[in-house]
Symmetry: C2
Amino acid sequence: MESATGGAAAVAIARLTQAFGQRIFTGEAVRFQHGHTTSHIVNQPPDAVFAPSTVEEIQKAVVICGDEGFPIIPFGAGTSLEAQLNAPCGGLSLDLGQMNEILQVNADDSDCVVEPGVTRNQLNAHLRSSGLFFPIDPGADASLGGMASTRASGTNAVRYGTMKQNVLAMKVVLPNGELVTVGSRARKSSAGYDLSSLFVGAEGTLGVIAELTLRVYGLPEKIVSGTCNFPTIESAVRTVIETIQLGLPVARIELMDPLALHAVNLHSGLGLAEKPTLFFEFHGSPNAVDEQVAVFDTLQRDNGGGDLITADRLEDRDRLWHARHNLYFAFPHLRRNARGIPTDACVPISRLADCIGETQADIAESRLLAPVVGHVGDGNFHLMVLVDPEDAEEMARATDAVDRLAERAIRMGGTCTGEHGIGQGKRRFMPLEHGAAVDLMAVVKRAVDPGNVMNPGKIFP
Amino acid sequence: MESATGGAAAVAIARLTQAFGQRIFTGEAVRFQHGHTTSHIVNQPPDAVFAPSTVEEIQKAVVICGDEGFPIIPFGAGTSLEAQLNAPCGGLSLDLGQMNEILQVNADDSDCVVEPGVTRNQLNAHLRSSGLFFPIDPGADASLGGMASTRASGTNAVRYGTMKQNVLAMKVVLPNGELVTVGSRARKSSAGYDLSSLFVGAEGTLGVIAELTLRVYGLPEKIVSGTCNFPTIESAVRTVIETIQLGLPVARIELMDPLALHAVNLHSGLGLAEKPTLFFEFHGSPNAVDEQVAVFDTLQRDNGGGDLITADRLEDRDRLWHARHNLYFAFPHLRRNARGIPTDACVPISRLADCIGETQADIAESRLLAPVVGHVGDGNFHLMVLVDPEDAEEMARATDAVDRLAERAIRMGGTCTGEHGIGQGKRRFMPLEHGAAVDLMAVVKRAVDPGNVMNPGKIFP
């Protein structure tokens, strides 16, 4: 068995095995499966994997690991994008996938209580019969504990917020094994420090999320989806700015560049014009939604948009949104055998067209192929650089361009990641983005996790 | 000069005076004015008061106080309700009222940048010409730095959130005098710990807020306000639960009990029925608002409500909302020469009717007079106990009843304060509400402020 921590790892694994028997896995396949696999960053597998069934088992494992200085890497569904799950210092991958029970749905309070391994699709399937839904939708069927850890969001964030706004409370196992409850089921509170917001987005570096209380919402009476296209990115973004200024409660508003549209057409055969395009959706009562679509249509026409295509029947809406959500499957059509390097950035929306424009120019100059899609209502967009993983020189050009996007977003008053997180991939941008605040984050980290056992090698440069 | 810190205070004040000359005030009137005055808790004035004009002056004062172990109490508009501004350990009140410039309004990004002493009314007067507004409205014309510090909210929180959701970024002077920027103008970020949310609600115990970047919103095209009344609190609350479940985007929904209505009638002469009453408001396009009011009318009738009174002209809406906002001036009509002890609590909305019912029974048994008003969409309500401040026995009955409300809210899965904060008044409930998480808050406090100079004696029991 390879291990970054050598003898100490053997002692820790022996103690864990004493406690949990054959449920401590050290086989290579399982270990590699729990290292990071969805980015171009090299897989650094943990020394061992354990899937606890209860909060008490999490606590017991954390205490042993803490005693032995053996790193703990909380693992949800394995869908994070910046190597959050790698084990650069070795350690135990704590796979929370078996803690996947939905514990409460409180319809009157519009909240629910779940174990951390519940996935968002599992939750939504369960909620449907109550007329409720959970809106946060990163592309993958991520676990809710993992989504909290990376402060995930997705297409609905413009209306419903991100995980930051939708986690009401959590149970967290601290690095010393103690269980704390942060937050409460009250919709708001002024009682002391907001510890929920500290664990949301901490990427497992401060503790293990063992239970979550989440906001849920009534399913909208009517949903209308649609698309429209524009001569330029600027005119599409201007339409979105005006939509938000007018207070139109758009539920989703997504931008795709012509290259992304080309991929969609190749994959889904929708036959959409290959121009800068907005995909949008309105939620509400039938009259309200119809009115909102009409107002939106006026705005987009005033900005040079073309004909609005709308869909209100479920199958037609699904066809449109599947095209958007299946982009990761569509992109390979653009280049055979290519690998995608996904990245995201977020800027004040007034800078979004500039940021996308400069990025597209950079991509062209760098002789790369990289479609752009964005959660444009938040100023957040994604770049998927399609590269030949065997071509080291091209890989270097690609990662350089990704780095320049992070720097560009920060220079424009934004952030190097709107929703993917820092993990290993973006640690070097933390000082540029946060300045001295990174030191303050480190002060908090050292105070909560003095032994640095919780997911070491992540977030901090 | 009286001082809790004696000789050390004299040294600190001498150094501050050397740095800032006659701008360091030690006169009794100014000191008492900066101790806490809006609660029944005894005024504990600071040793000195200083009103900095720049971020650099804040830093310089903080460094001197830190060196001398001399407490710093950040002061905004002096409107907090739980003795957040008292100086139980002596120290310097840092009055930010002169740092009241609005630095930027970015209409395209729906954000603005302000100094901490800007008040919410000042900001809204400034924004009006841009067609924008800032929605958070605690009753008083509080400073925005103070509102961030207490995680303030108010009547609009059900739609627009609290300060937690509306602070995008801040400049903060840390206890060591260092200036950090937390957050950014990006609408969302996954880049590291959410330090903004740590300072929002910290009541000045972690640093001094020196600048804020806030979300703003487009002024609604149409606003309709209204009232309706119910046979019971339960039926009023049930109407609110159904409103939220249906996704009706109500902007404000406030509950008043019959005693509060009686005070309103005495003060404003509105002649409203003295029954459990909802005040509500919808914001949006004319058609959408009209439809929402119609749907709401159906819900309230189904729950036994009476005739809906609505108002869409500004003067009529103002008349209604002034009645609600002037409650603190209306209450004295209920009992001559009484003093009000204000308190608030917040519970999951399914428990709200129970919590109010038990509280009203407790108030009656305790032979007290205490109207109830609530931001019922959040499960948050206020109690104003009207007491004779000269009657020590009655004061004791009142504070006991206030304490029991805090315990009751916590027992029902809620919080001992939805928006007033902890200050000195509610410190003893922190362990009951948060359990071991209070120790974690203390770990963070000690790490960020090892000398305990920032507003000592607040939040922690």
